[in-house]
């Protein structure tokens, strides 16, 4: 899951080297934290949160496959 978000985020931003993803594992639900460069924040959130929403949708599809839940947090 972590790799998936990292991969997508790196494709979207201007500074792929500054993309950092960490995963806090839970029994059922894991939280994926995404950190990007300040000027790229808008790129991963998108207009009205549209990009963030798309990433979350992809994430839920991917985690549904392994019967888990994952939530994406974008950290400022």
């Amino acid at each position: 899951m972590k790799d998936l978000i990292k991969y997508i985020a790196q494709a979207l931003v201007d500074n792929p080297d500054i993309v950092e993803v960490s995963e806090v594992l839970g029994e059922q639900t894991s939280v994926i934290e995404l950190r990007v460069a300040k000027e790229d924040l808008g790129k991963v959130i998108g207009k009205g949160g549209k990009t963030a929403k798309a990433m979350r949708t992809i994430l839920s599809a991917a985690s549904a496959k392994v019967r888990k839940r994952a939530v994406l947090e974008i950290i400022e």
């Binding site: 998936l4 549209k50 949708t57 992809i58 599809a61 991917a62 496959k65 392994v66």
Partner: protein, 247 residues
């Protein structure tokens, strides 16, 4: 020619059942939507099943066995750590090929990280780059109302479009979902349009994506007696079908 009436939770499911029943791909069947089904109230009261009537288009295809997509496992795209904005000497770039290749690579990267190793084919026209994923029929990639497919498509457009070289739209499709969806929407538009004409009262369809709304608008455009409009904001934009002012 045998015709079957098939029920399902929704039209997509009913069509899928029909495909299995006849063992042919969707496009080789003639499908008539009898009732659309509804989730009812809170999924408890008044649930109605979707019903379709399905028959084969012609006899000679009846035994074709190519329905089950071969589960070939394609090698995962070579892991690309960093998608660097390519600052190659601009003149040498053939804009088309580059964007399509980039989109395909990116898509395969996303799929392999989702644990899905499906082959992807690319088709290019002057207006769009179409990426077709050969899925396993599970619908996982499509999601409710196509939301997963749309999300990946949106990301691809963002990521590939940011270099700004190629202005073409990237369209993502799997298991003929886009065509099936169009068919369903056009049938829905026709049905609701008929209802509006009969009752002379406007009808609202639940919020749907811009693409889906466009299909409905276009389907009813030629009908003089009806007008279509969108109302609401963002993801909650709904479509309204109303009777035209002049009779």
């Amino acid at each position: 020619m045998n015709t079957l009436e098939i029920e399902g939770k929704n039209i997509d499911e009913a069509i899928e059942k029909a495909c299995r029943e006849f063992n042919v791909p969707r496009e080789k069947m003639n499908i008539e939507i009898l009732s659309e089904g509804s989730k009812g109230f809170l999924g408890l009261v008044g649930t109605k099943k979707a019903r379709i009537k399905a028959s084969l288009l012609s006899l000679d295809v009846a035994l074709e066995k190519d329905f089950e997509p071969p589960r070939e496992i394609k090698e995962a795209a070579p892991a690309r750590k960093v998608v660097e904005p390519k600052k190659t000497s601009a003149a040498a770039i053939e804009p088309g090929e580059n964007a399509a290749g980039e989109a395909k690579e990116l898509l395969q990267g996303i799929l392999s990280r989702m644990g899905l190793k499906f082959p992807v084919s690319v088709e290019e026209t002057a207006e769009a780059i179409t990426l077709n994923i050969k899925g396993d029929g599970s619908g996982l990639l499509i999601g409710k109302g196509g939301q997963t497919l749309d999300a990946i498509q949106y990301i691809l457009n963002k990521a590939v479009g940011k270099s700004g070289r190629d202005k073409r739209m990237i369209v993502l499709d799997t298991e003929e979902y886009r065509d099936r969806r169009d068919e369903y929407l056009i049938a829905l538009a026709a049905k609701l349009g008929g209802k509006v004409k009969k009752t002379k009262k406007p009808l609202t369809i639940n919020h749907m994506s811009a693409r889906d709304r466009r299909v409905i608008h276009l389907a009813l455009k030629s009908d003089e007696a009806l007008t279509t409009r969108s109302r609401g904001e963002g993801a909650y934009r709904k479509i309204i079908i109303l009777p035209s002012k002049k009779e």
